[in-house]
């Protein structure tokens, strides 16, 4: 028999072998359809390849292939969400390295090479992309950033980016921004690696989001495996594409199943539950397109593109160019964009495998175009992820809108125009009074009176004194006007630090009354209900809630979640896990968003995100400080799937705009604050503070144990350690909260704030 033929047959059989194992990957086991027997047969044929005649071999191969094809078709026809997850996770799936080699024409890896790398899970490369226009070639420079799962390479950590890997990504995004070249990001991650080591998983993702929200170059992303926060770290973009056999989810189906089934640590999660969750979470490309969390699907073969699927890479190249074109064109004029889109459509309907373009579009932007790009990005994110309910008539909404715009113009005039004027008047007055004679006072005094009438000063506590907020005693505070319901019991409790510091047992009425839940001996903070803060933090009767009509819903129709939601609503008398309100501290008005534990553990979904954004915008228009007080947050609400995840970039965009407008954004963590919110709109604040005894982090100890296999010390997430790692800027005693908040508002923030 011809040696070459045998060689080819051998290769072919190896291919068949891979196809069977791939099917096994998808089905989760080779036991399905007795794939193992088929595999054995292929292996046997391979082993005895010289024993067969050419004809025998041919028929054997044909027979095997028929059977494999039969299985493949059957699998493709009945593909379930969990199987799509398996496809995305398979080692045979294409990786970023394949994309770099096949989609781009040349590339230079930056910031590392192979395992010699600060984080081999994150790959950064300068790449060239070729566009053919009527047989002429044009070259585009892009910055490619993405996760590399590795082709079974251990050191790639399965595409789980470490904080310093995300930091590297951000660094090169800034390079792209400086050079004015677009960013193509490729998401192949099961999730970020949960370590608190500096810069910290959550904090670094937050930083990335904060920067990406206003990065001044087009960003196009492609999702193959989008694992929650890890995906968002490089995922905030102007156009989000997704492979048709990829998945994009708030949590791994296994993780969701463990939570939903309340599975104890170390116990096995039932497979049916995992599959159920995979279906409920709406994680496929189709689902995500419907949810509008992605913009477009790139079709793959029925069982997903693999490493050698060159036609897919051609398609991907085309789509990446097209997407970048569209982002660029949108910044130029809407008409140009529409014309381009129409033309593309027409062309695509004619020829589905088209790969060349009619025109060349430069991807560099002018300053006005950059501004427009950011506008578009902001609009895009503000539009999506709105899976909440509004309990009010449209008339009421319109009226509120009208009121809001009225308010906007009022504040613009009051603190914008007039303030400028007021400053110059003040300056003249100061000059006159300091240089003039004493009897000049009689001249200036009436003028000053008139001036004070127009720009009234806040009333000072003692009428004779000049208003000097720093010198005002904050300790004359009657803590006893609100008694925590926890205090109504005659019993004692043990301080958790009793053994270490010898704290005595505390009488509950003392502890939750006069002591504000703080152990007087060691300072340990016992948790207090969020109402305590509402009553004790702000000026009496100054708390005015708004947007309470926005209610959490069940946008994914997650089974059983309606009931849970109803229960939470009934229990708390509220409609979402966030309370947004106007308040004042020593007469300085501020806007507050408060995530609290009683409602679904303070998890963030669409309603919470929307209310947060509206509060943020309200603070922006009224030029007030914005406080995010996190009584507790358990992360993104898994029952809202990627609609929940998308709140991370969404809210960060709003925060960024608030901060850029000159606002003062402060985050105060209490009790437990974990995961998504910390890794986005909370962690991006320049002023983050922990209340004593609080815990702050990315993933809890159990998730860390389960993903990294290593245990963490009991105080791993303590505020003290968060401070040591630089995640937060300070630790506040609960009893000093009001005082510190006031001091912070007086000393921090730009002159843009209304009271400055």
């Amino acid at each position: 028999m011809d040696q070459k033929y045998i060689l080819d047959s051998g290769k072919y059989l190896a291919g068949l072998y891979d196809r069977i194992t791939y099917l096994g990957d998808i089905k989760g086991s080779l036991a399905w359809g007795r794939l193992d027997q088929l595999l054995e047969k292929v292996q046997e044929t391979r082993n005895n390849i010289f024993e067969f005649t050419e004809k025998e071999l041919l028929s054997r191969i044909r027979d095997l292939e028929d059977r494999i094809r039969f299985f493949e078709e059957r699998v493709a026809k009945t593909l379930r969400p969990i199987e799509i997850v398996n496809i995305a996770r398979s080692v045979q799936r294409f990786t970023l390295q394949d994309i770099l080699e096949n989609v781009y024409d040349s590339f230079t890896e930056l910031g590392g090479e192979g395992d010699c790398n600060i984080d081999p899970a994150v790959l950064v490369a300068r790449a060239t992309l070729t566009r053919r226009v009527k047989n002429r070639l044009y070259y585009h420079q892009v910055m490619v950033i993405g996760h590399e799962k590795g082709r079974g390479e251990e050191y790639r950590n399965g595409g789980s980016a470490k904080p310093w890997g995300n930091e590297k990504a951000l660094r090169y995004m800034k390079v792209a921004e400086t050079e004015g070249i677009p960013i193509h990001s490729y998401i192949f991650t099961p999730g970020a690696y949960p370590t608190e080591d500096y810069p910290g998983a959550a904090q670094q993702i937050a930083r990335n989001l904060f920067q990406m929200s206003r990065i001044r170059v087009p960003v196009v992303s492609f999702i193959s495996e989008g694992g929650s926060g890890g995906a968002e770290a490089i995922g905030l973009s102007d156009m989000r594409l997704m492979g048709s056999r990829g998945y994009y989810s708030v949590i791994s189906p296994e993780g969701a199943a463990a939570i939903e089934g309340r599975i104890k640590e170390g116990e096995k999660v039932p497979q049916e539950l995992v599959e159920h969750c995979a279906a409920q979470l709406r994680i496929t490309a189709r689902d995500n397109l419907i949810l509008k969390t992605i913009d477009r699907i790139i079709e793959e073969p029925p069982l997903g593109a693999r490493r050698d699927d060159f036609s897919f890479f051609r398609k991907l190249r085309y789509e990446m160019i097209r997407a970048t074109d569209e982002v660029v064109l949108k910044t130029k004029s809407l008409r140009a964009f529409r014309a381009y889109a129409l033309k593309r459509q027409a062309r695509e309907s004619r020829d589905s495998s088209c790969e060349d373009f009619d025109i060349h579009i430069k991807w560099s932007l002018s300053d006005t175009e950059k501004a427009r790009l950011l506008e578009c990005r902001s609009e895009k994110y503000r539009k999506i992820g709105k899976g909440f309910r509004q309990l009010r008539t449209s008339l009421g909404r319109k009226m509120e809108k009208a009121r809001d715009s009225l308010k906007q113009s009022y504040y613009d005039i009051r603190y914008g125009l007039l303030r400028h004027h007021s400053r110059s008047v003040q300056k003249i007055l100061e000059e006159v009074s300091s240089e003039g004679f004493i009897f000049l006072k009689t001249v200036t005094e009436p003028m000053r009176a008139a001036y004070d009438f127009v720009f009234p000063k806040p009333e000072s506590p003692s009428a004779t004194e000049v208003f000097d907020p720093f010198r005002r005693s904050i300790f004359v505070q009657d803590w006893e006007h609100y008694i925590s319901p926890l205090a109504n019991e005659d019993r004692t409790v043990t301080c958790p630090n009793a053994e270490k510091y010898g704290c005595r047992d505390l009488w509950v009425p003392d502890l939750y009354g006069e002591f504000c839940g703080v152990c007087p001996s060691c300072g340990h903070h016992f948790p207090l209900e969020y109402q305590w803060y509402l009553e004790n933090l702000f000026d009496k009767d100054s708390v005015k809630e708004f947007n309470s009509h926005i209610a959490s819903a069940n946008p994914l129709k997650f089974e059983g979640f309606d009931k849970k939601l109803k229960k939470a609503k009934k229990r708390t008398g509220r409609r979402s896990a966030i309370i947004t309100f106007d308040a004042a501290v020593h007469e300085i008005k501020l806007v507050v968003a408060m995530l609290y534990s009683d409602f679904r553990s303070g998890t963030v979904g669409c309603a919470e995100g929307e209310k947060f954004i509206r509060a943020c915008d309200r603070a922006r228009t009224t030029r007030r400080p914005f406080l995010a007080y996190i009584h507790t947050t358990g992360g993104i609400r898994i029952h809202e799937g990627t609609l929940g995840v998308i709140q991370m970039p969404r809210c960060t965009v709003a925060v960024r705009e608030y901060i850029d407008s000159g606002g003062l954004y402060m985050v105060v963590y209490d009790n437990n604050s974990y995961a998504g919110p910390v890794a986005s709109f909370l962690g991006c604040s320049p002023y983050q503070v922990g209340i004593r005894s609080s815990r702050i982090g990315f993933a809890g100890p159990r998730v860390i144990r389960e993903t990294t296999g290593a245990d963490v010390p009991p105080d791993y997430h303590s505020a003290k350690n968060a401070l040591k790692r630089g995640h937060i800027q300070g630790i506040w005693d609960r009893r000093d909260f009001r005082k510190n908040l006031f001091e912070a508002m007086m000393t921090m923030g730009s002159p843009h704030l209304y009271y400055k």
Partner: protein, 214 residues
């Protein structure tokens, strides 16, 4: 060196036990959670963050306090007659017979070899703040002391006295108290190994490590 290591080791081998008495930390009503003869465990986990076996519950002022075992061993005697009754502070409830492990044997023998600096009076003792920082940082190296160094503070009747180290110069090999502990008169505070004894001490440890298996 006049310590007969063989005798000592033989002694420990024939009876490798130590009794730990468990007394109530304060008043309250007792309810036992162990039986006589039961095996109990001390704290476990890398940071000893998982508490040991629950021994009894002491309820005072409606606060049922769980008292767990600090030692691994066997409940040797249990005052069952106290079950459900109000007891005073410092009442003996049970005894745990603890089998010494290798490290503990080493520790017991070291006490006989090292120069032990003892508490001159029943008082509360502290290392000076500088010493604490040093000991925290250099856990491996050990702190060398010379005669006359003031490294210990004795706190007695609300007054602090600096105590000079009066032994021969050497390295603090072992510390026997926690900051602020009330230490009985003559109880060991720390053990100093003289430089010339260091090889011998290491030999002792080496020998026990090879001869003793838990």
């Amino acid at each position: 060196m006049d310590i007969n290591l063989n005798d000592l080791l033989r002694q420990y081998k024939s009876h490798p036990y130590e009794d730990h008495h468990i007394d109530t930390p304060h008043t309250g009503v007792v309810s036992f959670r162990v039986k006589e003869g039961q095996e109990v465990k001390g704290p476990s986990g890398q940071w000893l963050h998982r508490p040991g076996t629950l021994l009894y519950i002491l309820e005072r002022e409606k606060n049922p306090k769980k008292i767990t075992s600090s030692f691994t061993g066997k409940v040797a005697s249990l005052r069952t007659e106290l079950e459900g009754t109000f007891v005073q502070a410092g009442e003996r409830l049970l005894t745990i017979q603890h089998k010494l492990n290798r490290d503990e044997i080493i520790d017991r023998i070291l006490r006989k070899v090292l120069h032990i600096f003892r508490a001159p009076q029943r008082a509360r003792y502290f290392f000076t703040p500088e010493t604490v920082t040093f000991l925290e940082k250099e856990t491996e190296k050990g702190l060398s002391v010379s005669t006359g160094d003031e490294i210990i503070i004795m706190s007695l009747m609300k007054r602090d006295t600096f105590l000079p180290y009066d032994g021969p110069p050497g390295i603090i090999y072992k510390v026997y108290f926690q900051q602020g502990d009330l230490v009985e008169q003559d109880a060991p505070l720390f053990g100093v190994c003289l430089p010339e004894k260091l090889p011998f001490v290491q030999k002792v440890i080496q020998r026990i490590r090879t001869e003793w298996d838990d």
